[in-house]
């Protein structure tokens, strides 16, 4: 998998005093961080700490209340289209159409991304996530794990240089978890940047070299994954079993 090479010298993600408020609740409060191109980052924190909100701001799915977020130098509000071309988002919601087959969902996504992929290339994308056998099955009949795999194929169809994964391990069986781990190794090895939000802490830390922890919308830890295990912030961020 190859990604946009010209962005190597620009940080993949840069936020400055990023804040987001929902009614009276601050989901993010003054989050400033920089993530370099090719880094793999595990974003941790207890429920309501702002992990998903941060991901959604980076994906241009929601506007920050104040502060700035840049993706490969493009401002998330003013230059949203350029940001959207460079990101793949795997969200809690799969963005898939239940009445379409797996292949039809990918065909739709490919055209919407402005790609010209033929039938063989779409089947290859399905094979990458182990769903080639279900190409002509409607998504409505898929299990949660199959849906998650297809959502991953959809999110990475345009080979984005930045991949944002929100709870990617949920609903996956052992084979699916292994497939995702291998996928992430290939992706980062190919120069891609990935941010993984998860409550499966040990698995997330194993997959990523850097850990960032949020608590009540504030950045409380930013360092190597190894260092996070022994940090005081490690308690209460999620499930440590793999």
């Amino acid at each position: 998998m190859s990604h946009v090479a010209s962005t190597a010298s620009i940080p993949a993600v840069q936020t400055e005093r990023l804040a987001k408020r929902f009614a009276r609740t601050w989901a993010l409060q003054g989050v400033s961080l920089t993530i370099g191109t090719g880094e793999s980052v595990c974003l941790l924190g207890p429920n309501g700490s702002g992990k998903t909100t941060l991901l959604r701001v980076l994906a241009t799915a929601t506007r920050p209340t104040s502060g700035q977020a840049r993706v490969f130098g493009h401002e998330s509000i003013d230059d949203g289209d350029a940001v959207r071309r460079r990101i793949g988002l795997l969200s809690h919601r799969t963005f898939l159409y239940g009445e379409l087959t797996a292949l039809e969902n990918l065909r739709f996504a490919a055209v919407m991304y402005g790609l010209e992929l033929d039938h063989r290339q779409l089947e290859a994308a399905l094979a990458d996530v182990g769903l080639d056998y279900a190409a002509d099955h409607r998504v409505r009949g898929f299990s949660q794990g199959m849906t998650q795999r297809l959502a991953l194929a959809r999110a990475t169809l345009h080979a984005p240089p930045l991949l944002l994964l929100d709870e990617p391990y949920s609903a996956l069986d052992a084979a699916g978890l292994q497939l995702l781990d291998q996928f992430l190794i290939r992706y980062v090895g190919g120069g891609g940047t990935v941010i993984v939000v998860t409550h499966q802490v040990e698995r997330g830390l194993a997959a990523c070299e850097r850990a960032i922890a949020l608590k009540a919308g504030r950045l409380v830890f930013d360092g190597r994954s190894d260092a996070f295990r022994s940090s005081p912030e490690a308690a209460g961020v999620g499930d440590w079993t793999r």
């Binding site: 994906a59 289209d81 350029a82 969200s91």
Partner: protein
């Protein structure tokens, strides 16, 4: 070219989804037929209208009744077209694709025109039978009026359906917002349908058709251009 492909794929996706979930279309057609039937029972065929044409009241007001049925059913179809986008957060997925969002708006409008035309192709003959209207001899002119009115209806309806898609009370809000804006289209469509069916002795038809054309030109343009803002959070 890319944007044309994006328009086409949105139409393809909506048409395919509609074809596979026949329940929605069947329910709409059944609902429209039921509305027409209730009007037929409520008014009855025997009340005469005092006028030169000498037809019954039901036949006289049939264009109005037909458009009321189409409007009520159409609102269901328009709401349904965005209900599909709410499942699995697909509407947000649409928002997060790069490219011109007007292509999505144009695709949704075309898809809704197709759905409404398919529904009208079923409902109009039913009205012809129930209200004893001779449709066949006036079919080309009638089809022209219906296409023009449907285009305006679909454009405004798609815009408001997208606007209300995230609201909890969207079933109520959509007709509340849509119907006031639709008054010129309904007025022109009913008048033009009446003149096509009963003869255009005073040469008024062209004025109503012009109103439909102007409404379509303005609202298809405005609704397509503004669709990107509707998709914003």
């Amino acid at each position: 070219m890319t944007e044309l492909r994006r328009i086409w794929i949105v139409v393809w996706k909506d048409a395919l989804t509609e074809r596979r979930t026949k329940a929605a279309f069947n329910a709409m057609a059944f609902f429209a037929g039921l509305v027409l039937l209730i009007f037929a029972f409520a008014i009855g065929p025997d009340i005469p209208v005092s006028g030169p044409a000498g037809q019954g009241l039901l036949e006289y007001i049939a264009p109005g009744l037909l458009w009321v049925a189409i409007l009520l059913t159409g609102v269901l179809a328009l709401g349904r077209s965005f209900q599909v986008e709410m499942e699995n957060g697909a509407l947000e997925g649409l928002r997060l694709y790069p490219g011109d969002r007007r292509a999505i708006g144009a695709g949704k409008i075309i898809a809704n025109v197709l759905t409404l035309v398919a529904m009208e192709a079923l409902v109009v003959p039913i009205a012809g039978i129930l209200y004893s209207i001779d449709l066949w001899s006036k079919l080309p002119a009638l089809a022209g009026v219906f296409l023009l009115a449907t285009l305006g209806f679909a454009a405004v309806g798609t815009f408001y359906a997208a606007l209300t898609a995230n609201l909890r009370a969207r079933e109520v809000m959509l007709p509340l917002l849509l119907f006031p804006v639709m008054v010129p289209v309904v007025l022109a469509a009913v008048k033009a349908t009446f003149l096509v069916l009963n003869g255009d002795l005073m040469g008024e038809l062209s004025a109503w058709v012009r109103l439909l054309v102007v409404f379509d030109a303005v609202f298809v343009t405005v609704c397509t251009l503004a669709f990107g803002f509707v998709l914003e959070e």
